[in-house]
């Protein structure tokens, strides 16, 4: 019985884990290329979900006889494109045009973007509550080794999509010219630009891809969350940061593992105490980070005076 419960919890937490992985991958991409922690990752994603819901409503009105699934998929594509462009806009129009900028200043700017999106959302999309439907409704029940398990169809599809996307990003990082550029920029921006890497292009693409990843994760998460709000991704944002620190910002692989660990542990703890799960998990993470500040998979960075 215990094994059944544990495997069921693992199945249930797989969905929050892949959503967190998508968001975290965006944060890490930006951190590696721009040396800043992007506080606006969640807000950009929330903005994109509003675009998704508006766009799917628009497609329903302009294309007669379109099926709800098709509406949603087209909407999600529009939302991802919007977030992609928004990320591009932030890097090329705000960060690059700033006069005296350092890592801290960039961080402040992303916090400013959070505030702007919070103010902008009700102005553009109104204050009426809106939701995003699931891709498919219903559950799948299956039996494994004589034990019964279940998973919702939406979760299963989301997990497949997210796994494919994350794999594609990792393959691109390892095998394409863009990936090489990102890794070169991550190790040293100045030297990379001297070696002929177009660091401006790499940074802009990282911001755009991070925005798109956030939009995808938010679109998959929105049906579970309920009524949309500009603060809907705040929790995922904080968990993404903590996952990045837990796994270590040094590698791309660490934060993704970190963002698998956090929801899984939260799911396990929730079985014991649902009320205090976040406090217990955050406390545990803080203790781990205090013991090992560079993260579980981090590499020690030598500081020069």
């Amino acid at each position: 019985m215990v094994i059944q419960i544990i495997i069921q919890i693992l199945l249930d937490t797989l969905m929050p884990a892949v959503i967190l992985m998508l968001a975290t991958l965006g944060i890490v991409l930006i951190f590696k290329t721009s040396y800043t922690t992007n506080f606006a990752q969640g807000s950009i994603a929330a903005l994109a979900v509003y675009v998704v819901s508006s766009a799917s409503a628009l497609f329903a009105s302009i294309i007669p006889g379109i099926s709800p699934v098709m509406q949603l998929i087209l909407g999600i594509i529009v939302g991802i494109i919007a977030a992609f462009l928004f990320g591009l806009f932030i890097d090329t129009m705000i960060l690059r045009k700033s006069k005296y900028i350092n890592a801290g200043g960039k961080q402040m700017i992303t916090m400013g973007i959070v505030l702007i999106i919070t103010g902008l959302v009700p102005l553009i999309f109104g204050t009426l509550s809106r939701t995003v439907p699931k891709i498919v409704y219903g559950n799948i029940d299956f039996t494994l080794f004589g034990l019964d398990f279940w998973i919702t169809k939406h979760n299963l599809i989301s997990i497949i999509i997210a796994t494919v996307v994350i794999s594609v990003i990792f393959i691109m990082l390892r095998f394409t010219k863009w990936g090489l550029g990102v890794r070169a920029t991550a190790s040293n921006e100045l030297v990379a630009s001297m070696m002929g890497v177009n660091t401006h292009f790499i940074t802009a693409m990282s911001w755009s891809i991070a925005g798109a990843l956030g939009a995808l994760s938010a679109s998959l998460y929105a049906p579970i969350y309920g009524n949309l709000s500009s603060a809907m991704m705040t929790n995922i944002q904080i968990n993404g940061f903590l996952a990045s620190i837990l796994g270590g910002f040094g590698t791309f692989f660490g934060p993704v593992v970190g963002s698998y660990i956090i929801p899984t542990i939260t799911g396990m703890v929730a079985y014991v105490s649902a009320l205090w799960k976040n406090v217990i998990v955050y406390g545990l993470i803080l203790i781990i980070i205090l013991i090992k500040p560079i993260g579980l998979f981090g590499k020690k960075v030598q500081k020069k005076v």
Partner: protein
Amino acid sequence: MNTNFNKKHTFLNKIVTHPYFGFILAGLLLMTVQLLEYQGIIGVTYARAFGLTIIYFIISLGFSLLLGYAGLASLGTSGFIGLGAYITGYVLKTLELPLIVALLLTLVIAIVIGTIVGFISLRIEGMYLAIITLGLSEILNEIFKNAVKFTNGVNGLKLSSLTMFNTIITHREFYFVLVFVMVLAMILTINIISSPTGRAMLAMKNSTSAAQAMGISILKYRLLAFVIATIYAAVGGLLYFGYWLTSNPETWSISLSLSILAAVIVGGAKSIWGVLAGTFLMFGIDLAVFKQMDFFQKYQDVPYLFSGLLIILVVMFYPGGLSKLGVDIKTFIKKTFVKVRGLYHNWRYGKDDIR
């Protein structure tokens, strides 16, 4: 012409140029707001907006010490304010003890929490620290929501009336307490800034290694900076509860921390007057003007748009903030005055080739 000969060293001049003079003047000016409210000239909502802005100013002062002098970015401010508010609420409502006990308890807990965060800041630096303090604030917020026995959960803690020295103190009288604490906080802050402690913090901000090489203990000054900032925040929470007699968990969210950060950055993190201007720009206008307009009552989140835009514009083009604006305007006026005087001389006496 040497201007030093013209400087008057009279008693009056000594008073006017003393740094405390401006603080006390600001306190008196803010007191007139409440006096005007007594007369019915200013609406009660405006007076309360001023009161709340004063509380946020006190908190921002502590935060500016942390950010502008010690160079430590923290996003845990709102959690610490909430802690102060809830401790005060618990002492006053459940334990039914006087306010002074709440103050002492708040100070003790603020020192303990500040020390803990200070120790964390020794291990984790820079951008990571903001994230960790954000996590800490999130833990505190979860506790505010879930520890129903102490905080009354999401319904919020409410007190019917505040009693001090066996008399009931309304928000009108408490306003004067706020102004008094504000002047006290300003005096304390300028003393910290211009003392060796402030200089040591500034050295630490510019280069940790260089400061250590000069014999500055990083441990001591980081802990001190966090303890001071936490005390300011927790006392702000106490004042908040005394003034509004209510505390809700959702008040102490990330957006409050971000707003305080915005106020300090827009005002200029190194100047007391800059922080004052920044707080009044961020909170004062929001509370007194935007909250009263029908449009903004319908769209409650829209004022954040302006704070966001301001923070981005200031970071992008004007890193000194409003405090630098004052200096820049002064130099501009001086330059224009000299120019105009030169033009006048040229017109009056003819062009002077030697000059």
